[in-house]
Each structure stands twice: as C-alpha cells, then as structure tokens.
C-alpha cells in the first residue's frame, strides 16, 4: 500500500478542523442536538486524525521522504536588492518530524475533543468552545505542516490567539481574562523575537539568488529537494548567533521557558481540557518543535546559542519543579511539571540531540494529556482543585485513579512507562556531551536532581487525591466515576503512556527519527554500560521521590512543616513563584504604565502646550495690532498714503540698491 499519495493532500489535515470552526462558528447555536457542535468537532478532528495518522504511516513506509507542496501567498515584484522579488509562500511539508507531530497533535486533539463532550456538558458558550478548540487544532497542525518560516509564524500567532481565547474562556472571571492577557503578552514578547530571527535567517539564507539578490522563495525550509543548509554556509556566524538566540526567545515564549514562563501556570484558568491540549499537543509543543525545526532546516545553532539553550532548558527544568513541590492546586502542579518537562526537551535540543527532545515531546504529550484529563475528571465530579480538600478518591473513581497512576509513573520515569525511555534518553544525551562541554555540568546536575523532585511532587498529588479512606472536605459533592466519553480518551491515553516510549524500537517508526540527515541522533536509546548506570541512578532517585511522597502524604496523611522552621520561608518563596510574576506585574503594570502616563503628560502639556502657546502669542499679537483700527476715516487714508509712499521708496531706492548689490536686474 502506497500511502505517499496522501502527502499532497496533507493540507486537508488542518482544513478539516478549520471546517469545523467555520460550521460551528456560523451555525453554532442551532446545533443543539449535536451538543452545540461538539460532535461535529469530534467527527472532523477524528477525520483529521485518521488522515494525519495515515500520512504518518506513509512517511514511515517510505522513510526519508520530503514532500513539499507550496503556493504563492503573495509576491512582491523585483527591484533593487530583490533580484527575484519576494515570494511569501504557504504550503505543506511532509517530512519525518512533521509526521511524528501529526500523530501527536491529531491523536491528542481528537481525544481531548471527545473528552470535552462529557466534561464541558454543563457549560455555557459551547459553540464558542468547540469552534475555538477546532481552530486551535488547525493552527497547531498548520505549524506542524508549515514548509517555511513565514507560514510557521503565521500559524504560530494563530495558536497564540486561540490559546488567548481559550484561556479566557470563562471571561466573566477577572482572573481568567487577566490570565489570558498575560499569556498573550508574554508569548508576544517571544513572538517578536522570533520575528526578528525570521528576518535574519531570511536575509542570511535567501541571499542566494542570482545577482546576489534574495531568492524568490527565501522563506522555504526546503524547496524541491532535501538538501539542508549546513551551518556556516553563509559564513555569517554573528548574525546566525543572534538569529538563534531570537529563535530561542520565541520558543521560550511559547514553551514557557524561564524567564517567559509566568503565563503557563496562570493559564490554568481555562477549562481543563484546554490545559490538556495546550500542555500536551499544541501551544507549548510549538516552541520545542520550532527549536527542532531550527536545528534541522536552519543549519543548526552556533555554540553560543547551544549553550544558551542548554542553560535555559536545564535551569527551567529545576526551577519549575521546585515550584511544583509545594503547590496545593492540582492543575498548577501539573502545569509546573509541564514547564519542567519542556525544560528537558529544550535541554536535549541544546545538547545537540534535537530528535531526543522531540522524542520526549512525543511521549510527554500522551502522559501529560492523560494527567490533565484525569485531573479534569476529579474536578468534574468534586468541583475543587484544592488538593487538601480531596482524598480517598481511588475507591470512588477506580478507573480515573488507575489512569492518573499510569500518568504519574510515566512522568516519574519508572520503566517501562513512556516517560522513562525518553527522559533517560535526554539525560544520556546531555551526559554524552559533558566531555566536550564541561560548562554543561551544572545544568546536567539540575536536570538530574529534578528527576527526584518530579517523582516526589506528582506522587504527592496522587496520594493527596486518591489515597486514604475519605474526602478531607465533607462539604464537597459526592465523587463518582465519570461517563464513558471521558473515560475512553483516558484509557486510550493511558495505553499510549505505557507503550509510547517503546514505539521507537519499532524500525519503521524509528525511521522517523533516523530519517533526518545531518543530525546527531540517539533515538532509540542505545543502552551502553554508562547509560545503564545513569538509568539505574535516575530510577533510584525517582523511587526515592515516590517513597518520600508516600511517607509524607500517603494513606491520608498530611505533613505539616514544624513551626519556626526555616523551610517556611522557602515554601513561601516557592508559592510566590520566586516573585518573578510580581516583578512582571510591576514592570508591566506599574513601570510601563507610569512611563506611558508621563509620556501622556508630556504630550498634553509640552507638545500640545507649545501649540497652545503659539496660538496665545498670535492672539496677543493680533490684539496689539487691532489698536490701529481707530475707525477714523482720515487715519485709514493716512495709512494708504503712507503705504503708497513706502512702495515709492521701495521702487525708487531699495530696488535699485539691491540690484546694484546683487547684480542683474
């Protein structure tokens, strides 16, 4: 069966959810019998999933194939430096990594959509929800399939806006609209850096056309061939360094890396399903995917950029995990864990193993979506997110507790769950670079310590929520198992969380990773003696974390810090998120606004004041001129005579004098 015939139809994958967006957007309220469009969204995202998976399978069956279909969006004709004009193109590029991402996005997207039908059942504004969720999926699929940086950026922005609306879905809540604003603005900072990066890459790589002008298709990643641009081809490493840093900035914004990470925990204001999608398959994955794409198609990164990526990723991993340790909100803990795990992916890209980062993204998508959906199931039944009011849920929500447990094990990196394979691969990849780059050591250690923290905080959540005999807060509604539309997606995801890490050992699937030329690859993980030792240590650390969590929180226990302990201040610092958010608020709301007010003052009273002063001086001048208007006829006659005499003087004396001075006549 030759599935590669589908590659030319890849544009349908994003178009199917887009169709759902249009249908639901226009006829939403009339689709009451279809759960206000929910089933249409499920149907069309399911179709997209089938097509996406088929395309991915086709890519596996014909390894190392790059199929690009592109159309000119608009073209500016040639002149000056634009020897060929500039073409702004849109198109689809089916290649190994986009095939992989297609699986992640369509599968998780479809499952979340299905889950939503149950989860969102009681909410208002369902047409808006499904329309936006479909558009969100479209945008992410557009990012995945983009064959050039412009299109990438276009859909990237669309992802940002969709997330803005979905995070602010409960827009009546001030906190929700504030969180949406924060998400948009913080990622916008990254977007702008990304934009600058695009320009630099464009001018570096597109200057290959005839006459040294820009190539007409300068934005394309590849065009008509699979040739990649090797780093240094342009010989312009300073520009490339800046460009790489800008790309990192863009990725940090979308993937919530330090210091642009503040928006993600607050993004929990949206529905849990949206969080699942954002954290697993869409928004945050886009940033890592950008870094991967950059290392493949944009000639890789210079060493400065690589170190910056390692530093950002390694630090974020630890930084976010510490904040997860103390938080009492179930969704926030999972959100911090997302930031932390994204740090791992970024770390791998920085270490030079972009595909390992992608591998972790792949496995993480499933177990993180699973964790969110399970958390959503809890919130759905007992309507609270506070861990200290939960407890004993395992008895009442058996399947949910199992699903959450699988997700937690995968996240902690316990073999054979998915997270173990990819996370260990990340650590091994970084470790393999330590010899050449000793400056990576601190970040490697941070990442390693995080393994312990991860296992501890996620099992803290698990024990607080599920273990014990009863719910701590008796006033909560009675917990019960969730309906099948919610359980089925969880079960499917749980299955993936168990086995997704093993997929890479299947040769045809593995070809998605090995089919990318010119990149160091460590996928699937090769288990040499060193790697085994590393794995043993990390599994031990994870196990220690689980044990600690059990000791402190297991079986209905609640651990109280001893009074007067210095740990209190650390805990408060962590709960205050290292005051980074406060600093952002201060800079944004106080600093910028004060500057703006000062500028407004300047504008009103200095610039406009000068205008008004002008006006006033003219008025006083005219007031003084007015006094010669006596109304006496003789005076006017005198002015006329004086004027005539003045003209005589000019003609008879001044003009001849000027003519004699300046010559001519």
């Amino acid at each position: 069966m030759d599935l590669s015939i589908l590659f030319g139809w890849a544009f349908l994958v994003p178009l199917l959810p887009a169709l759902a967006f249009v249908i639901i957007g226009i006829w939403g309220q009339r689709l009451g019998r279809l759960e206000h469009g929910g089933w249409i969204a499920v149907l069309l995202s399911g179709a997209a999933m089938v097509l996406g998976v088929l395309i991915a399978v086709g890519e596996m069956l014909s390894p190392n194939s790059y199929t690009d279909v592109s159309y000119t969006w608009f073209h500016v004709s040639a002149s000056g430096p634009f020897a060929n004009g500039v073409s702004f193109v849109v198109g689809t590029l089916v290649d190994p990594i986009s095939a992989l991402m297609l699986i992640v996005v369509t599968v998780v997207g479809f499952l979340v959509m299905l889950y939503s039908v149950g989860y969102m059942h009681h909410d208002e504004g369902l047409p808006r929800y499904y329309a936006l969720l479909s558009l969100f999926l479209t945008a992410m699929l557009g990012v995945v399939l983009a064959d050039n940086l412009l299109e990438f950026f276009l859909f990237w922005e669309l992802v940002g806006v969709c997330s803005y609306f979905l995070i602010g879905f409960y827009w009546r809540k001030p906190s929700a609209s504030s969180a949406a604003k924060e998400a948009f603005l913080v990622t916008r900072i990254g977007d702008v850096m990304f934009l600058l990066g695009i320009f630099i890459y464009f001018s570096v790589y597109a200057m290959t056309g005839p006459n040294g002008g820009w190539a007409a298709n300068g934005f394309l990643f590849v065009h008509g061939s699979t040739s990649f641009i090797p780093i240094g081809a342009s010989g312009n490493s300073t520009l490339l360094t800046v460009a790489g840093l800008m790309l990192l900035g863009g990725a940090a914004g979308k993937s919530a890396q330090f210091p642009l990470d503040v928006w993600l925990p607050d993004a929990m204001e949206g529905p849990t399903t949206v969080s699942a999608l954002i954290h697993a398959a869409t928004m945050v994955a886009a940033g890592v995917y950008l870094l991967v794409v950059g290392s493949i198609f944009l000639g890789g990164y210079t060493s400065i950029v690589l170190f910056a990526i390692v530093a950002v990723g390694g630090f974020t991993t630890f930084y976010a995990a510490t904040m997860a340790v103390v938080n009492t909100d179930i969704k926030r803990v999972i959100a911090y864990s997302t930031i932390s795990q994204l740090g791992y992916m970024v770390l791998a890209v920085g270490a030079g193993f972009a595909l390992v980062g992608l591998y972790h993204l792949f496995t993480h998508a499933f177990f993180k979506a699973l964790l969110f959906l399970a958390a959503g199931a809890i919130i759905h039944t007992i309507v609270t997110q506070d861990l200290f009011r939960m407890g004993g849920l395992a008895k009442k929500m058996r399947y949910t507790s199992i699903a959450f447990l699988i997700g937690a094990l995968a996240l902690s990196g316990i073999p054979p769950f998915a997270g173990f394979w990819s996370k260990d691969d990340v650590l091994a990849s970084v470790y393999s670079q330590l010899g050449a780059h000793p400056e990576y050591w601190p970040f490697f250690i941070l990442a390693f310590v995080t393994v312990f923290l991860t296992a501890y905080y996620i099992f803290r959540v698990y024990f607080l929520a599920f273990s014990g005999e009863r719910t701590r807060d008796a006033s909560l509604p009675e917990a019960h198992e969730v309906p099948w539309v919610m359980l089925v997606p969880m079960m499917v995801l749980a299955g993936f969380a168990v086995v997704a890490g093993l997929f890479v050992f299947v040769p045809s699937f593995g070809s998605l990773f090995t089919g990318v030329p010119g990149l160091a690859t460590n996928v699937p993980p090769s288990y040499g003696p060193t790697d085994l030792v590393l794995s043993a240590i990390s599994v031990t650390l994870a196990g220690a974390g689980i044990v600690l969590a059990w000791v402190l929180w297991g079986n209905g226990r609640v651990y109280e810090l001893p009074a007067g302990s210095p740990a209190h201040s650390i805990r408060n610092l962590l709960l205050a998120r290292y005051h980074v958010k406060a600093a952002y608020d201060w800079v944004g709301m106080v600093g910028m606004y004060t500057v703006a007010r000062a500028a407004d003052f300047f504008d009103r009273f200095v610039i406009d004041g000068a205008v008004k002063g002008f006006e006033r001086s003219f008025r006083s001048m005219s007031d003084s001129m007015r006094r010669i208007q006596t109304g006496l006829v003789s005076d006017y006659a005198a002015y006329v005579v004086a004027g005539i005499i003045a003209v005589f003087v000019l003609l008879l004396f001044v003009a001849p004098y000027l003519a004699s001075v300046f010559g001519g006549g």
């Binding site: 006496l632 006829v633 003789s634 006659a637």
Partner: protein
C-alpha cells in the same frame, strides 16, 4: 497752435493732488472731505486732458481722443461721487446728528 511747457502742467497737477491729500488727511468735516476728493479728481482729469494733447501730431487725427474720452467719463464719475457722498452726508447727519467723521468710527450704528 498753442505750445506749452510740459513740466509746468505736471507740477500743477501734482500740487493740486498734494493739496487734496492734505485735505483728506486733515479735514474732519465730511463736506470738506468731498471737496478734497474733488480737487484730487480734477488733478487727475487735468492730467488726462493734458496727455491727450501730448499725443504726436502725425499719428492720425483721433489718437489723443482716448484721454479726452476718459476725462469725460471721469467728470461723470465725479458727479456721481458727489451725489452718493451727499446721500452719505444725509444718512450720517440723520443717524449721528453730525457730519464730523470723528463722530462715526464704527460702520454699524
């Protein structure tokens, strides 16, 4: 045939014109202003007649007639001017009770 000095005629009209200016600038009585205006008009008319006579003899019999024609028209204008001026005098006298221009310094009453 009469022959006369050109400069003298010009000097005469200039002198009359200067007298007219003096009158316009110094008199406050409206009738005196009209008188001054007439003196100035006459100075101008005199110039027209004079320059009509100045036209060279050999350029045909009517070449100087334009000056005299204009003089005729100007005399008519002068008469008109006096008529309107008199009307203004009457109007002023009625509204202000005086024909002293110093008493009427606004266009509206």
């Amino acid at each position: 045939m009469t022959t006369l000095a050109i400069t003298g005629f010009l000097a005469l009209s200039f002198a009359l014109f200067a007298i007219a200016i003096f009158g316009i600038l110094t008199r406050r009585n409206f009738i005196l202003l009209l008188v001054s205006l007439e003196i100035g008009m006459n100075a101008a008319i005199l110039n027209f007649v004079y320059f009509a006579a100045l036209a060279p003899a050999n350029t045909g019999s009517t070449s100087g007639l334009s000056g005299q024609s204009i003089a005729v028209v100007l005399i008519g204008f002068a008469a008109t001017e006096i008529a309107v001026g008199l009307a203004i005098v009457l109007a002023l006298n009625r509204s202000k009770g005086s024909i002293n221009v110093a008493d009427s310094t606004t266009l509206r009453s």
